[in-house]
């Protein structure tokens, strides 16, 4: 990640696809691990840890969406709803059956994957615009169902309270402890995605995205891989929803509305479609943006607005800035922050002899 090669001398496909392009890359990973596992939790204040926690959750969901949109080229405006499926499945299992998180988490993911496949079914017949509309309908129908079926939503205000995750008697009940809980899943999601996209399945996804007819001709079963993409992607979304539930201690459909689907689309567009590193950048960017806007408005905006107006102003600004960034990146830099990062890197790789 941060190392400099003296040149690119790859002679086999294996070398080209390797996770560690050079031996030194392993050391970067070790250093990163040290920073995140030892240094950050010891030195960083709880408030900033809570922001990091939100970023970790966002990374999981955004990676899932990027597998679908960035790698497979299908579109989904229903990921918020898939998250809510995972969240409510886990919350119901945890509260009604008293199951621990290591059972509810995969259960939530699998349920979301099932629903995701059902919503993704139309992708077998249609694509592009029609698929966008079908997933939009999926989002609205799932939202409505959760809201109107008390058996799922737990009745009052359609929200279920859930206890903190507990492992062998150890409860993750502070931001510092949740940090390790969420860091673990974020790392698992990142490594799983990195390996998925360079495997046979991942390459099939890319083939379907780039030229579906050609992909079919070389023997890729498009239908299978499209549904698989929907399943994997909504599994991630479901897990992300479960993590939100455990993090906030409550499953609430308001956390998973249409606007959330758009937030996540914003993450992968701003970060970079079809790139794991870009997804991480996007998740960081989109999570930090509202916080920065809030801090900015609390300091500068309080000169112009009353406290009562502030909440509306901040939420409006947030949405407006998001929309603007989506448009900006689509027009100016379709490859997102990831491309900017690569440009910076390749500049420093040959620095100071840039010619």
């Amino acid at each position: 990640m941060f190392h400099r090669e003296s040149g690119v001398f790859k002679t086999s496909y294996g070398a080209d696809m390797a996770l560690y392009p050079l031996p030194i890359a392993k050391w970067t990973v070790v250093i990163l691990a040290l920073i995140f596992v030892v240094i950050v939790p010891l030195t960083v204040h709880e408030y900033y840890l809570s922001i990091l926690n939100l970023i970790f959750i966002a990374i999981v969901g955004a990676l899932g969406l990027n597998i679908l949109v960035g790698y497979t080229g299908q579109i989904s405006i229903g990921h918020g709803a898939f998250m809510s499926v995972g969240a409510y499945t886990a919350a119901n299992l945890a509260v009604k059956l008293g199951l621990p998180f290591w059972l509810t988490l995969p259960a939530g993911g699998l349920m979301a994957a099932l629903i995701g496949v059902i919503v993704g079914m139309p992708s077998l017949r249609i694509k592009g615009l029609y698929l966008a509309i079908a997933t939009l309908a999926g989002q609205l129908i799932i939202e409505w169902t959760i809201n109107h079926v008390p058996a799922i939503s737990g009745g009052a205000q359609a929200s279920i309270e859930v206890g903190r995750p507990n492992l062998f008697g150890f409860t993750f009940n502070t931001q510092g402890r949740l940090y390790f809980f969420l860091l673990f899943f974020a790392v698992v999601a990142i490594v799983a995605t990195l390996n998925l996209v360079r495997s046979r399945i991942g390459r099939a996804f890319v083939a379907v995205r780039d030229q579906d007819i050609a992909a079919e001709i070389i023997g890729i079963n498009i239908y299978r891989y499209k549904l698989l993409a929907f399943a994997i992607s909504s599994f991630y979304a479901g897990v992300c929803g479960v993590l939100y539930t455990y993090y906030f201690g409550i499953a609430n459909y308001e956390q998973f509305q249409l606007i959330v689907s758009i937030d996540y689309l914003a993450m992968i567009i701003i970060g970079g479609l079809g790139s794991v590193l870009g997804t991480i950048f996007g998740a960081i960017f989109v999570t930090l943006l509202p916080i920065v806007i809030r801090i900015f408005m609390e300091n500068v905006g309080s000169l112009f607005f009353t406290t009562a107006e502030m909440a509306n102003v901040i939420s409006g600004l947030r949405l407006g800035v998001f929309g603007g960034l989506i448009i900006f990146f689509l027009i100016v830099e379709p490859e997102g922050l990831n491309r900017l990062w690569r440009n910076i890197r390749s500049y420093f790789r040959v620095w100071p002899f840039s010619y």
Binding site: V69, G73, I75, I77, M121, P122, L124, R125, I126, K127, G128, L129, Y130, A132, I133, A134, L136, A137, G138, L140, I141, W144, N147, H148, D212, I213, E216, I222, I262, L265, A266, I269, E309, N312, V313, S315, G316, L317, R318, L319, G320, V321, F322, G323, G324, L325, I326, I327, L330, I331, P334
Partner: protein, 297 residues
Amino acid sequence: MSEDLEFAFALVLSGASIGLMYSLIALGFVLVYKATDAINFAQGEFVMLAGLIVVTALGFEAPLIAAVVVVVLAMIGFSFGLEKVVLRPLLGRPVVAVIMATIGVAAVLRGWGPLIFGIETRNLPLPIGDEPIAIGPASLPPIQVVGAAVALLFFVVFNWFFKKSRMGVAMRAVADNQQVAQAMGINVERYFALAWAMAGIVSALGGVVWGSMLGVDVQLALVGLKVFPVVILGGLDSIGGALVGGLIIGIVESLAAGYLDPYVGGGTKDFAPYVLMILVLMVRPYGIFGRRQIERV
């Protein structure tokens, strides 16, 4: 007429008038899609913006006619500019990019609209009174009658425009085949802009009638979500389809609300159209009147 039949008649009538108002908004979507192949996920936000502009103009003591003229001009200008700034650079890019860009536009409008024009819900009074108008055994609020009339008027005008006027014929040519149209000396870019401007006009009027019915605030944009069932059902590129689709969706919605709501505790209105749409997507994705050519794998 028996009690049951009267109830059904009232539901159908009310559904049909609401449906016509849906088709008015859907018309804006269809016009853009037909001519430019661009998908406008911000159609509801266009309507919201128009509503906000009207109430703001009325807030400055402008007479209603002046406010309507202002909003039509403003919406033409806005959609014209939008086409130039956002959609033009995305020409030739994958359809997903265009979809996301219009979603971005929707977010921008939803975010900045209330900040600029005010957050609180405002009424948009039209000088038509509140007395329900009796039609047969049922009655309709006057705003629904006006809305339906405006929608029908637009359909007549656009029908004439596309069939008879020189510009309309040119626009159909552009929609049919851009390259050939260009070879025939049609300025394709100009007609793209024209299509967006027409969508702006339709949205402006949509904003007036819907704003007057629901009150003007951010929630007005949610009307746009109903556009999708309408256009999918009617066919994405068919103006008549928008009309028929709107009628069907309006009636289905109204019947669902009338007959199913007592059993499930309300809200079927926001549910039934999407279920119907999913069914249509599975069975006949190009809709009732749409061109049979659909991109498939």
